[in-house]
Symmetry: C2
Subunit: 246 residues, 2 copies
């Protein structure tokens, strides 16, 4: 297993007279930086590193000491865990505004890999923790985010444990569409930065079943497949019904 990639890094603490990346940040409202005032953001900025990863690069490895936490500011990331024999489970996809760095006993609980060129704000865990001691707003917001993620994890358990292949794909597309809307992007078409095999490992299926199910949904007029890995939801109501398992 290779070591975590060392990404190209742009130091950001220093001044340059240009516009402030945190003030201009398009995703701040979604992150733990959201509730902070101008001065508090400056404190955060002083410990943050802006780092970029190219497609396929690893951000963190499961089991590594969790020295950093990240906010995704652009791109997309997959989180995954491996069984000893190579079986893989993708436990989530991250998009701009999402948080990365869940740790258990000081080690990352999963590996994370960029699905496309990705930008992050990276914080040394220790320094963020000391800062949080002074700024309880940070932990309050992190707790909100953690509860949201827990609720999403529950939904994913229902999906994995009790939904059919078609229901899984429908739920997946709806969820991505919803997340696009939360980021103020159009609900349609749904952009898929991940390949069929990633989707399969996220939904507990195989590549072939994912492909066949896409074809079925296409044939039945619920979706249509566009170039560049995009999916047009032609019949949102039908997709919704399928997803909810009616």
């Amino acid at each position: 297993m290779s070591a975590t990639a060392t990404p190209q890094v742009m130091e950001s603490g220093s001044s340059a007279g240009y516009s402030d990346p945190c003030v201009d940040c398009q995703v701040r409202q979604y992150t733990f930086c959201g509730p902070l005032d101008r001065e508090e953001v400056q404190q955060l900025k002083s410990i943050l590193t802006s780092s970029q990863y190219s497609s396929g690069e690893t951000l963190v490895l499961e089991g590594e000491a969790s020295e950093h936490v990240f906010n995704i500011t652009a791109g997309a990331v997959k989180l995954y865990k491996l069984l000893p024999d190579g079986r893989r489970s993708i436990t989530g996809f991250l998009f701009p505004g999402d948080f990365l760095g869940i740790a258990k006993a000081g080690e990352y609980a999963y590996s994370a890999e960029a699905l496309m060129p990705t930008l992050t704000c990276r914080f040394p865990r220790k320094r963020l923790e000391s800062l949080s001691a002074d700024l309880p707003k940070i932990e309050h917001r992190l707790l909100e985010l953690a509860f949201d993620e827990l609720a999403a994890a529950q939904d994913q358990m229902v999906l994995l444990g009790r939904k059919s292949a078609a229901e899984k794909i429908a739920s997946f597309l709806r969820s991505l569409s919803d997340r696009q809307q939360r980021r103020k992007l159009p609900a349609n078409p749904v952009v898929l930065p991940m390949n069929r095999s990633d989707i399969a490992d996220f939904l507990g299926l195989t590549t072939e079943t994912v492909s066949r199910t896409f074809t079925q949904l296409k044939t039945s007029g619920v979706i249509s497949l566009r170039n560049g890995g995009m999916v047009e939801i032609s019949n949102p109501d039908a997709l919704e019904e399928l997803a909810e398992g009616v």
Copy 2:
């Protein structure tokens, strides 16, 4: 769908000259009350209600306004979500020391039902939140607990998405055994307060498959079944290997 049960309640804020239930609390170290000092615990106690539920009683219903959060102090609880057609997914089991009350947009994300006579400390969410504003230790601890739960949720996703029936049962037994140890109970035998159908809905299987798999594990000498829903782990190494999917 019936309303949430109104449990028998014992007011605890009042004094009685007896020993203090919070000071004596055996599970405090596991809960968000853990890091508080004597005086802070008194503040918590003033907003808490001790409530008990009998087997089968509902603590909270998915979709209800989440007015309370709970610490389980005795007994056992199952958390579940339903699909419209009745399919059920059990998303977790709670034991003494565990926290209940994950909410999304002010509504419970799941239903919770007692598996046996169960005691809880129940806190009005609003009042706990205002108290947390003064006692950042509470949110800090809650965040730790939420991260632990998120890590556990990731493991459950691997289990549901990629493990065989035998691996699921083995992982399940190991996990219950570990949790017994964390509560300073013997690792063996494993006590199962839930029935086969609950286990099935937790592992994404059917009752029949759970039963057959128990029989297999028994036949192959990995476990043996005891009275009162207890399982003796006869060969912990074999169980471990199975669980990890080697």
